[in-house]
Amino acid sequence: MPALRCPSVRAVSPVVVALLLSTPAAADPPPCPNGEAPPCSNIVGVVEPRRPSEPVQPIPAPATPPGRELTAADVAADPLPGDEGGRIDRGGGGSTWRQIGRGVLYVPRLMFDFALAPFRAGLWANERYQLGERYDRVFYNDAKTIGLYPTLSIDSALGITAGAGFVHRDLFGEHEELTLQAAAGSRYRQIYSARLASGNRFDGVKLELDAGYERRPHDAFYGIGNGDRVMTTSAPIDPRVDSTSIESHYRQYRSRLALTADVRAWRQLHVRPAAAVSSVEFGSPDQGEPIVGLYDPRGLVGWDGVRYGYAELELRWDDRHGVTTMEPLAVYSAGSLASVFAGRIVQFDAGRDFWRYGFDLEKFLRVADGPRVLAARLHGEAVTGNRYEVPFVELPALGGPLYLRGYALDQFRDRVAAFGSLAYEWDLSQWFSASVFVDVGRVYPDVGALSLDHLRMGYGVSLEAHHVESFVLEGSIGSSIDGGLFLNLSFNPVYDLDQRVRRR
């Protein structure tokens, strides 16, 4: 005879629900045992209430005698951990559906772990064997002032460039720093540089001397002027007179020797003289449409190569800062920067000398904790020579991650460039912040042509990573009223001013 089986709770639940629905009285408080209407008075005399400040007495009394630690002998007869619950019921191991689900998800889980394994193994090996420290042991001296290090850079246009560097951070005992670097990405992509910085050698004055040679295989050129981009052209364009813009490429070999100084004159006012001699040669690119196929070489001033000297004086007031110690040092939330400069370019070969001059203004306004900041930038730059005198690569340019995001790098060039930017930045965490920005600007053939007509406007969002004390990197996605989508990754803050003597 089969045993009488009770229906499960699930089986009778519709009936119970019906009971609850059909009998409103069931929801009423239960009757008081002494016949009172609810709420009931307590049926047993109230025990002396305990004051909140009095320690309560759990039941039963604790095992540990006051002030004495238990010993192995004290607990020898007690249950093992896990058996202390006093339970006589035992829970199941999970529903069948859950077991089936686990089985189904086992493979995805394995795949996930497998996909992570290389990265995790790298972390493990680095930490387990202290690879970074071991590297330092081999390639640096004990004081870590002299050493060799690898370099790697990723450029959206030029690809991966890898190399090595040597650094001596205390050359003559006052933290003078010597850096030598060599890197290559291909036959046409090479960088060699040497840099010597004065460190603390001179009180209030910092000097830097650097020399470099760089082979860039396929820089882009989009013509001169504020012209709209086209996809094709029927005849070579003379960029000096025709602002039609079409993407073309050229190779550039650049040699440079530069000396810069920073003298703190008064409070946040710095005087920054700089001088450089440069030599630039051009040629056909290793990829992309060659510049000479689209543009008339006669219109590309300096195409046969240029050698020139440049001397500049900049006055810079910089009191950008954070407002509280709780803000990362890499994030400006208040203050401003104002900079004016003027420099003379002396051409060693044919071509007239000319001036370069301009200004930068930055203002940071903290609007809330985080910090959340409104940041405004203005940049203006001009040259005095005309389009027939100034080498095409020396014309002020806009476009790219620094000036006019949402456009290609150096998409616009001409004798005058004007640019403005407004950004709203907000924190995502202590280490990350985001911003939305609008960049506006255009180039002009001369100062008299300045106007608000035909402005180019880019916009987008950026994400910045920083430590408490320093900037790490910034990535941005930008587009513009002219279309296109540009991803930029930069290891320099957008609010750091461009160093003209070290331009590409």
Partner: protein
């Protein structure tokens, strides 16, 4: 017609319910008729010392933040109620936890003394430097005092005088009183000449290689410490933990090499419930390095060894992590908080975050510690890595809150005084803030679990404390209890009601099931205007005395 059909259905339902336990949805007998366990035997001999755990921090964080959350989701593991609790939902004494405050009277002196069993090393100078502090980072030394007792001495971070040393003292004493094992700590003052160098003093680098530690290096390190106005250096001296130290416990699972470690750590109530206590204390520095297991000799029989489990390094609690880390988010968001970052990204900073507007009081020795923005349910440690906290449920947090609220203001004040803060206003501020956060913690969790406790069965009544009333979070006039009795098969025996009483101690009539050992379950549901919650109290006759006794509690 419809009502007739319904009535038939009703009758059938009632008949089934009456005939079968569980028809009411109430489970049957759950607990053995036995006294609750007050201690567990996790002191069985572990004859050989387990190997120290090697913590690889990057891998640890990667696993905890990236790998394990996905793995856990794919494992479809349901939430588990905590283990390591007795039938009364309390934690028995063990090598992890010892019931102290609330379990017995703790005098002010005992609270201030805490785990300390010997005189301060300040009375036993000079100190001989054995080595630099293990690990990178802050300045510190391992020293032996004139008695030969070994201590680790650490200093306050420059620019933050008294903060870490005072905080470590205060929080260590509180955690000890709560029931955890902590180090024996002392605030000490020293001059450079109080430190002498052992002939074999060493610096241990990260490869484990020893290098000689010379006087010049000691002086160079001490020069980075901010002196007191009288020129002395203030430091914290932590007595070296006895036995062989083995590193922290794994956040998930058990130590495979410890046979006494039988409950997966993410299921341990004493670890999960620490969430409320750590939140109260803003002890955000929670990861494996801040726990320490030691293989120790039994005090009664030195030939027996087992593992004892410590909490260490509390100096970044009480808002000190926020000040020294320059981050007001601490306690409100994880350092790497992908969820909070995504929300902030979408909100574009237009919505005020809970940590905004926080600032440290201008008091020497006090970190960014305040109660105004404290949310006991949303508090977060620095990293999303400690599995017991991720698994903790409201019952665990209720347990922790019960412990936290047991400290009186006077006791808190006495504990804060152990930090030896030089500004009396700082002592009052920290005390006030601790009390405010303590009450916020208890108020929060007492509103999420039926806060009835300390059940006592008498011959004719069952009495209990309503903690919400006892600690003035609820009014007795607006509280009433609905009590339903069931037999061991969950058959309903009857119902009655009672109202809240001043002081929180209330009693209801107790009539046991006449059959067998009288196993009776009382479902006590508390009703307040903004709260309803139930607790099942299991009562049976003690076979020895025949008197009723509480044999188990099951909170819903």
């Amino acid at each position: 017609m419809k009502s007739t059909a319904l009535g038939l259905g009703l009758g059938l339902g009632l008949a089934i319910s009456a005939g079968c336990g569980g028809g009411s949805g109430v489970p049957g007998a759950r607990f053995a008729n036995a006294p609750a366990v007050t201690a567990v035997n996790d002191r069985r001999d572990v004859p050989r010392a387990p190997a120290p755990r090697q913590l690889l921090l990057d891998v640890y964080h990667f696993d905890a933040i990236v790998k394990r959350p996905v793995d856990r989701a794919l494992e479809l593991d349901p939430p588990h109620r905590a283990r390591g609790v007795n039938a009364l939902d309390e934690v028995p004494d063990s090598t992890w936890f010892t019931n102290r405050i609330g379990a017995r009277e703790l005098s002010g002196d005992e609270l201030q003394t805490g785990p300390i069993t010997l005189e301060s090393p300040e009375l036993h100078k000079p100190w001989t430097i054995k080595s630099s502090k293990p690990g990178a980072g802050d300045v510190g030394f391992v020293v032996a005092d004139a008695r030969g007792e070994k201590f680790l001495i650490k200093f306050d971070a420059p620019g933050y005088p008294e903060q870490e040393t005072a905080t470590h003292m205060i929080v260590g004493k509180i955690l000890w009183a709560c029931g955890y094992n902590v180090t024996e700590d002392f605030i000490v003052h020293l001059r450079k000449e109080d430190l002498v160098l052992a002939h074999d003093a060493s610096i241990v680098d990260m490869f484990g290689d020893k290098h000689p530690l010379d006087r010049a290096e000691v002086d160079r390190r001490l020069a980075t410490i901010e002196p007191e106005p009288d020129g002395r250096l203030r430091a914290l001296a932590s007595r070296w933990i006895a036995g062989k130290t083995l590193g922290g416990h794994p956040a998930e699972g058990v130590r495979d090499d410890d046979p006494n470690d039988r409950i997966p750590h993410e299921q341990r109530r004493d670890l999960r419930g620490a969430y409320s206590i750590f939140a109260w204390l803003d002890h955000v520095d929670v990861f494996e390095s801040n726990f320490l297991d030691a293989w120790v000799a039994d005090r009664g029989n030195p030939r027996v060894h087992y593992l004892k489990h410590y909490l260490i390094d509390f100096g970044k609690s009480l808002g000190v992590m926020a000040t020294t880390g320059h981050d007001p988010r601490r306690g409100h968001a994880y350092v790497i908080d992908l969820g909070a970052m995504a929300v902030s990204l979408l909100e574009a900073g237009l919505v005020k975050r809970s940590w905004e507007g926080r600032s440290a009081p201008p008091l020497r020795g006090v970190g960014l510690f305040e109660a105004q923005t404290f949310d006991p349910g949303r508090w977060k440690p620095d990293y999303q890595v400690y599995a017991p906290f991720l698994a903790a449920d409201r019952f665990d947090k209720f347990w922790g809150a019960k412990i936290a609220i047991r400290f009186t203001r006077e006791q808190v004040h006495a504990l804060v005084e152990t930090g030896q803060l030089s500004d009396p206003r700082a002592v009052e501020y920290v005390t006030d803030t601790l009390v405010a956060r303590q009450r916020a913690t208890a108020a929060y969790w007492f509103a999420r679990v039926n806060p009835l406790d300390h059940f006592t069965a008498y011959s004719d009544r069952l009495c209990f404390d309503d903690l919400a009333i006892a600690y003035d979070f609820a009014k007795p006039a607006t509280t009433h209890y609905e009590v339903t009795r069931y037999d061991r098969a969950a058959h309903k025996l009857g119902a009655l009601g009672a109202r809240g009483e001043a002081g929180g101690r209330a009693c209801v009539a107790l009539t046991l099931d006449p059959g067998g050992d009288g196993y009776t379950m009382l479902d006590i549901t508390t009703h307040r205007p903004d709260f309803t919650g139930s607790t099942f109290v299991h009562v049976a006759r003690d076979p020895a005395s025949g008197s009723p006794r509480v044999i188990g509690i099951w909170r819903l």
